[in-house]
Symmetry: C2
Subunit: 458 residues, 2 copies
């Protein structure tokens, strides 16, 4: 055959070839994630250089700059920031909670604690009072003002270990932290202590936000480690008159300027249709935030890197959004959705990763238009080699939830759940708790799902 | 209503009530595993008191006594041992592998290594030779005797990181360890080095067995950590004449007496039909063996504890078998199956747990009678709340494999796989690598499957 004819036929054959099927695409995506994955190294940078990324902190704004640089280095079509005013609460000097001795001259016992996010401070000399232990907000209400007034209320209902999914245990106990201190204040309590939300039995206290009444009258509130909670509970069982001293030094400042960080690859066919993948840049002040949500940040960046490395030209615009202030305000997510609404941006799909960098097991999917997770079942055979085995109904995570209201289909990466609440909102949420391959498999799963949505729709 | 009539009606109602359905049974089983699970505490005992449980060792026979006591404390219907003669290989003094300096007077560089199980020793003064690096047994054969004779063969093909399941990477690389040294000896090599079988990039060498020719002519063989393998490879790339010195002090003793340890709850309807759950008591000499297979041992014991705690009266006999000598001989499994065959014991189902104490994700099932895993699909909805999401075709593990040949349906617990080969056959397979809830969920999954097989058949 003459060379030119051969060349023409080859070119025709290549042009006529169907695009690579989804099996091959997913294989290429996962291979890129597993063999050349950068997420773990980037996570090491983020959590080592910029730990304690709480809204209003210097660390968070340094992480904003780091992530803008990291996205820019990918050679994306657009990298930009969105200004957001965020709450600015600071812990101040380390808090102390002490179980006072029964007898004058006895030694007080330190109870490992963390002020809850948003908590007011105690007076400089602290608050000292008797403690009343309750297991629920109902029990608090049943006791009433007579039993509560002047006391420190101690919410001590553990997460239920019988529930296979620790997230269910968390949801069943978190009201004590989020609403307990406000409710205790309404009955005249002088302060609140809350058992840390974890199934681990250790001396690590877990931070987290508490919601106050808008009109003041708030009381200082702190979380106790589970061991400290057990110690206090045992002491109260022996002597209900035992007193605790709490010293919290937190302070609320005026709102501060922060940023959502955004990078995107422009779509070739439908550039105005946006597929979003995101996590949140901020963390509690006392943690490197490796799983929560450093993992989600670097996975979201990695999705764009994978597409760039494979030379994938998406039909729709693929956008990575690193939200600010998820932990104590959700201002980043609200500002992002508000901007999308006002500017008429069309988000066809928005998937969040904020449940830790553990081995991925599935996705939740949700839409105000109907049970979109059912249509995704057709993709399960494609995901079987990678052990992503379920699409369940959901409503996205905190950061993409506001987009669902605007009509966007939202999703949430569901990794393995057993270890998350060992580290959640703690100083031990460190890099060594993240496994590189588990983290990279999560990025692969996100990129694979986005590829499918981009090619086939949901 | 008169008390007696009420009592009679109540008794009739109770008798007429259908037995608790499988949903309720699984819920009770998992609750017992998660809330009252003993497996983790027992694992702490086993690996702390009896690390290094290699066949022929005092540690293994002490673990035999420990497990007999632990089973006896459950108040089972029968606890007994089965005598098994096992190979007795000892590592002796710590091995040394050194990359010699290029120039006289230069310092040698230590390469972190472990003699492979079964390896012969070097002469006391060691073996010093040039090294030839190969990536496969095919490459070895292509080089042939001329290039190989007198040299140390260095098998350095990594596990393939692109494969989502590290077990596939292991299967694709293990021939270098299991058959490489024998093949190298056939071409006149004086010793063999093998890259450790792991995807981790660290200085931890991984032990494991190597198979020798039965008629002698064997050469010393050791595994290098992946970092040491990379270091050696880089040195050889720069100078192929670099020499390595190996000193191995291992020794093969006459076979020693060991034991399978067996405990059982006798079946109420079909006591002669046996459902077996098991793991292996032995481990490599250099490891506590927490995941491999301390986890399987304590999960197997836990299955019986759960049934006892729930007062479950099985229809068939439920038997826990803790096999000896899985790692370097499989003598326990072979002796067990041989005894079953000779005594006419009928094993209807035998499930093994020997893939680490990670979060369970499914089971493999196999039978010479047909695709039994297909019939198990009906149970997937029951397991959905516990995230056991697949039944795939398999042939059991090493220890129950010999029973499959006898017609028994065999199974294998399939936990999450990403972290297993970070620890497999190493000194870092320690208790802290095991998560209590993940371990207990595995025991729950095993007990749930056995309950279903006992009630419904497979």
């Amino acid at each position: 055959m003459r060379p030119l004819l051969f060349l023409c036929l080859t070119v025709l054959a290549l042009r006529a070839a169907p695009p690579a099927g989804p099996e091959a695409a997913l294989q290429a995506i996962y291979r890129e994630a597993l063999v050349n994955g950068r997420a773990y190294d980037q996570l090491a940078e983020l959590v080592t250089r910029h730990p304690g990324r709480l809204a209003g902190s210097k660390a968070l704004e340094e992480a904003v700059i780091w992530s803008e640089h990291t996205l820019t280095a990918l050679g994306l079509d657009r990298v930009y920031k969105q200004e957001v005013m965020v709450p600015h609460w600071e812990r101040g000097a380390p808090e102390t909670v002490r179980l006072l001795a029964e007898n004058p001259g006895g030694a007080a016992i330190g109870l490992t604690a963390l002020a809850l996010g948003g908590s007011v401070a105690t007076p400089a000399e602290g608050i000292t009072a008797e403690v009343i232990e309750v297991r629920s907000l109902d029990e608090l209400a049943a006791l009433g003002r007579e039993k509560i007034a002047g006391k420190i209320v101690f919410f001590n209902r553990p997460m239920d270990p019988a529930l296979p999914n620790p997230w269910d245990g968390y949801r069943g106990a978190v009201d004590q932290r989020s609403r307990g201190p406000r409710a205790a204040a309404e009955f005249g309590a002088v302060a609140a202590l809350v058992r840390s939300l974890t199934l681990a039995h250790d001396d690590v206290p877990h931070a987290g936000n508490t919601a106050y009444a808008p009109d003041g009258g708030n009381i200082p509130a702190a979380a106790l480690s589970t061991l400290a909670a057990d110690r206090l509970s045992a002491a109260l069982a022996a002597n209900p008159a035992r007193r605790v001293e709490m010293c919290l030094h937190s302070r609320r400042h005026p709102d501060a300027l922060s940023h959502n960080v955004i990078g995107e690859i422009r779509g070739t066919e439908f550039p105005d249709e946006i597929i979003l993948v995101g996590g949140h840049l901020d963390s509690w002040d006392i943690t490197p935030g490796a799983h929560d949500d450093g993992a989600g940040v670097v996975q979201s960046i990695e999705v764009l890197r994978i597409f760039r490395a494979l030379g994938y030209q998406p039909r729709r615009t693929i956008r990575c959004v690193l939200f600010t202030n998820e932990e104590n305000g959700l201002r980043g997510a609200l500002a992002y959705a508000d901007h999308a609404r006002r500017s008429g941006e069309k988000h066809v799909f928005a998937v969040e990763t904020d449940s830790g960098g553990f081995a991925p097991r599935g996705f939740s999917l949700g839409s105000t238009q109907g049970p979109v997770h059912e249509r995704a079942q057709r993709w399960l055979p494609l995901f079987a080699p990678y052990r992503v085995t379920s699409f369940v109904r959901g409503s996205g995570g905190a950061d993409v939830g506001p987009l669902m209201v605007l009509g966007t289909t939202v999703g949430n990466l569901l990794p393995d759940t057993q270890r998350y609440f060992d580290y959640h909102h703690t100083a031990v949420d460190t890099l060594d708790k993240v496994h590189p391959r588990e983290l990279h498999l999560g990025a692969g799963a996100l990129a694979a799902l986005i590829w499918l949505v981009d090619r086939e729709g949901l």
